[in-house]
Every structure is written in C-alpha cells, then in structure tokens.
Symmetry: C2
Amino acid sequence: MINLSIDAFGGDHAPDAIIAGVALAAKKRPDLQFLIAGKEDEVSPLVARHASLGGRCAFVDVPDRIPGDMKPSQALRQGKNSSMWAAVQAVADGRVRAAVSAGNTGALMAISKLRLRMVEGVHRPAIAAIWPTRTGFATVLDVGANVDADVDQLIEFAIMGEAYHRAIHGVAHPKVALLNIGSEDQKGHEEIREAASRLKDPALGLTFCGFVEGDGISSGEVDVVVSDGFTGNVALKTAEGTARLVGAFLKDALTAGPISRLGALIASPGLLKLKARMDPRAVNGGVFLGLNGLVVKSHGGTDDIGFAAAIDVAARLAGSDFQAEVAHRLSIRPSNEVVSDREDVTGVK
Amino acid sequence: MINLSIDAFGGDHAPDAIIAGVALAAKKRPDLQFLIAGKEDEVSPLVARHASLGGRCAFVDVPDRIPGDMKPSQALRQGKNSSMWAAVQAVADGRVRAAVSAGNTGALMAISKLRLRMVEGVHRPAIAAIWPTRTGFATVLDVGANVDADVDQLIEFAIMGEAYHRAIHGVAHPKVALLNIGSEDQKGHEEIREAASRLKDPALGLTFCGFVEGDGISSGEVDVVVSDGFTGNVALKTAEGTARLVGAFLKDALTAGPISRLGALIASPGLLKLKARMDPRAVNGGVFLGLNGLVVKSHGGTDDIGFAAAIDVAARLAGSDFQAEVAHRLSIRPSNEVVSDREDVTGVK
C-alpha cells in the first residue's frame, strides 16, 4: 500500500475536482490510500459519492485554505491550520509517502521547505516538469521554484534532474543539457558557461551534452534540460500556449467547410489520438526536488483528470528509489564547490 | 522605388537560397531594387538565372564572408571586406533604405551598431520578432540582441516595440506587457517589477497591461511583449520547437492507418491552409530596433521563401515612418531615468 496526502482545498476547482481526481486515481491504482486534508464536513460528503474511495480515505480536519494570491511568507505565518500545511506535515511525520497539491506554488514550496527541510548538500529546491518530446518525455527543471540560479545551483539541478529522470523513466544514463540561446561554447550568461565547463567533470558521472536551445527541448535530443526557474517557467508556459494556438488553428482548419469537416470526421480516430497525446492534463504534475520528502504540485487550474495524473506521478515516485538516488549523487559530487546561500523567492532559508 | 541591400553570403544556404529569395520578393513587389553584396563573380550568374531580377540588381563586390561561428568582436576586426559589412555600410551611406542578412546574428548586430550607431536615447538595440497569435500577430522583443536587460533597457524596449508595432500593423494603441512568471505584482525579478511600476507612468503614453506569462504571448491578449534577450530567445525557440512537435504528432495521427489517411486526404484543403498558417517561413525576419538605419535578420537556416519574407518585412519597414516614430517616442520619455551603460554581448559600446 502507498499512502498519499491530498490538499483538498488547493486549486481553482477545489475541492470538487480534487476529490473527483482522487477517485479517478483510486480506480486506476488499487494500491493507493489517501489522507485527505481540509474541512472534513465539506469533503467527506464528496468522498462518499465515489464508490472507488470506499474505505481508502482518512481525514485531517483543518479549517483554513491558502488563497492563490497569498505570499509565501504570509502562508508561513498564517497557514498552520490550512489543508496545504496539513498535507505537507503528513509527509514530514512519515504518515504518507508523498503529498499532492494544486494550490499556490510559492506557498507550497515555502511550507515544504520549512517542514521537510532540504536534502543535505542542496541549497535550493527545484520544480521538475514532464515535457513531451518526439521520442518520449524530457525532464525540465527548474520551472519556477526560484527566479534565478547561480552556477552551483545549476549543477545541483543537473544532478537532481538526472537522478529523477533515471528513477522515473528507467533510462540508465539520461543525457543532460543546459538551456541556452545558442549551442556554441561562448554563448549565454557567464553563469551558464561556467556551469557547462564544470558539468563536463567526469567525477560527476553525468552524460553532459552541452547547451540546448529552446527548440531542442521538444526535439528529444536530450533527456534532462537544466535552467534557472524564470527561464524554465517562461519556456514551459510558452510551450503550453503554442500547443493551444496550434490546436486552435487545427480546429479552424478542420471546420472551415463541409469537405474539411467530412475529412476530419473520417480521420477522427487519428485526431482523437492526437488530442490525447497533446492533452496537457496527461503531463500534469511538477515534482519538488531537493527536499527530504515528496511533494507533487498539480496545475492550479486542473480538473479531475489532470489531478489524477499528478497523483499518478506521486505514486510512481513513492514507489521508486529516486530520493536515495538523488542523495547518493549529491554526496559523490566533487567537493571543490563554493556554495552560495542567497535568499530565494519564498523567503525561507 | 525602394532600395534594399542584401548580404548574399549570410546563412546556411547562401548564396543560392538568398538570391532565389530575392527573386521571389522581386516578383511580389515590383517597387524593389537590390544592392547585392558578395563575390560578384559567384552571385551574378545566380542573379542572371532569374528573369524577375533583370535590371533590378546592382553589386558590391567584396571577397569575404562572416562564418556562423565567428565572434562579434572578431567580425568587427576581420569583417571589413565581408558581404555582411558591405550590406550594412550601404544603409549607413544612404545608398539603400534597409539591409537584409541571414548571417551570424551577433556579428550582424555588432557591425550594425558600429556602422549605424544607436538612436539618441537608446542604450541597447533589441531584436523584435513577429509572433503569430489567436488574433493576428504580436511583437516580441528582445529575442536575442542581449543576454540581459536592466530596468532602463526594458523600458526602452517597450517604447521601441510599441512604436514598431504601430508602424507595421497600424494599431493605434498597441497593448504592451512584460513577460514574467506570474501576473501578480509581486512576481518575478526585481528589475521586472521596477520596470512595471515605471511603465505605468502616463507620461510614457503607453497602453501598459502589466505582466503576461509565457502562454499569454500566443493568446493575443497583448500586442507587444517585452523581455530580456535571453528569456525572449528561449521563448521564441521553444515556441518553434513546440509547433514542430505538434506538427509531427499531427502527421503521425493522420498517417496512422488507411482510414485516417483517407480522412486527411479529404480534409487536405483545410490542412494545407493550416500548414501555410504554421509555416515559420511566413514570419521570418527579426528587426533590429534602436539603430539609425534598418537591418532585418533572417533565420540562418532559411530557404528562398523564408528569405523573401524577411525582404518583405524590410520593404514594409522602409515604407513606414517607424524610425521617426521611435525617435519621437524616446524623446518624449520622462527624463528622470538613470541610464546604465553596461557592455553588452557584442562587445560594442
């Protein structure tokens, strides 16, 4: 059995979509049990509606919810009785293997850092996203835990991302690259060039492939793409927006006239497969890396299907050895690094 | 008549694709004349092949070409007899209204800055890209002239981009936004937040809409998206990669079986329209803003159709009042700004 905690009051469509997502995930994986954090009198009737959840949910009754626009520092001060806090605390207490929340990202990161603490040797956690490519999936990090990253942090992100990708996708030697604005050695920020030269060190044990440009993420040429959180977040959102734009153009094209509509109808099995492949809900679930405990962040606007996908990511991670893998990799990292300790966005040291 | 200079030896497929592109553009616009820069004995036979170019080309015979991997500083020292230099020099000399090159971006920017100089009040030039959206086209800048931008530069980019968008698309009051990782006021780098607060100043005369996230670029919610050059370049390339990925998925879907293939055949008029709409060549042409002279950068890997599109951008700009518009807007900018003067990537002050 794998136990997961659920922030029932995080996300735009909470708690209805959250509980419906839990029910979907429960149907798919009979080995999951859930600790539902939130106002029990509001969520238990929702849980009762789903036969698949019978006997598989426990509750942590807490009155508060963290609003989407609350600052991380405020969430730390005022959020102790919130559903988000309770979900993370359950990981810290060892009651569950992982927490899943669709709530405020900054608040979730701040609370997670405070309650779970960072893995020894990690100075900033990162959020890793799953990115569809021509050949499967890439791991992209950081996609928004931080607004910047220095050389040491980029190297930590590379180590964590590589271990994570191996644990999740079973790739023995994931190819790692740094996101840059050109593939030549002299391109980009000084931090990136310095990080590239250090990532070549064989002692790190990474298959480092140098720089990749924005269009190299989805081409599948590498497995792990490392970036500062600002650039990574913009890239991720830009890709989502572009996929939606192309989808809208495709819809226009296939409804432009009766002949196109007929063709689309006939081709609908293929088009439905395309729709499933492009469904952003299928790749929902940003994983917090670098913490002593598993936290998965779902897209805030997600519905039940997307939330179930985030639960699935958490369940797969909970069943893998990725945390031991990350800790091991960080421990064998060459120790000649001067690690900075600047304060990050969440205000938590 | 509008005169344009052409760098015949810039780009991966020069000079063949370049001259073929000039011929295509010449057919479309009978009001264009061309000054072809490069080895005359190599390019004049190519020109002679195209009836549309009869009597419409002059030549600047120069022996060198700037390689794609040459550093900007090296191009400045060694590039004086290159096709790129000659094309830019023709703008500086007033022989042509604009230069078009598919060559090395950094070198083209460095040479352009040296020969054309920056507009009074501009401290860094920017490259503006045309970005397809749900409702038409957005202008995104900077997409790679610089690797960073401070507050003053972001404001200059906003002023230049807004004037450019108005001149090209005829929108009276383009909506301007800053690219960020959240739409709330407290999100992002300090520079971006400070720039946002200053862009609200009514004295600037801008319709400033605050922050936009990556997925807001293609949604069409704003007209001008302002970013540092690193993030803007990653966003642009990521969008290109995503469009290609979705195109490949679509092709897979429509060739998956005989029925899907039949449907695709019937829907082909609509699908061809989609293909045209998604053709990256149609939006080829990054415009250098902030210089005393017009330079348009074509994608290096472009073919004749893409290069013709870049020529079309140059021709439209040459016929507009956008440079006067930019100069005017910069001159009325409130003068309470402390402008920094850091060295940029090209090494040219």
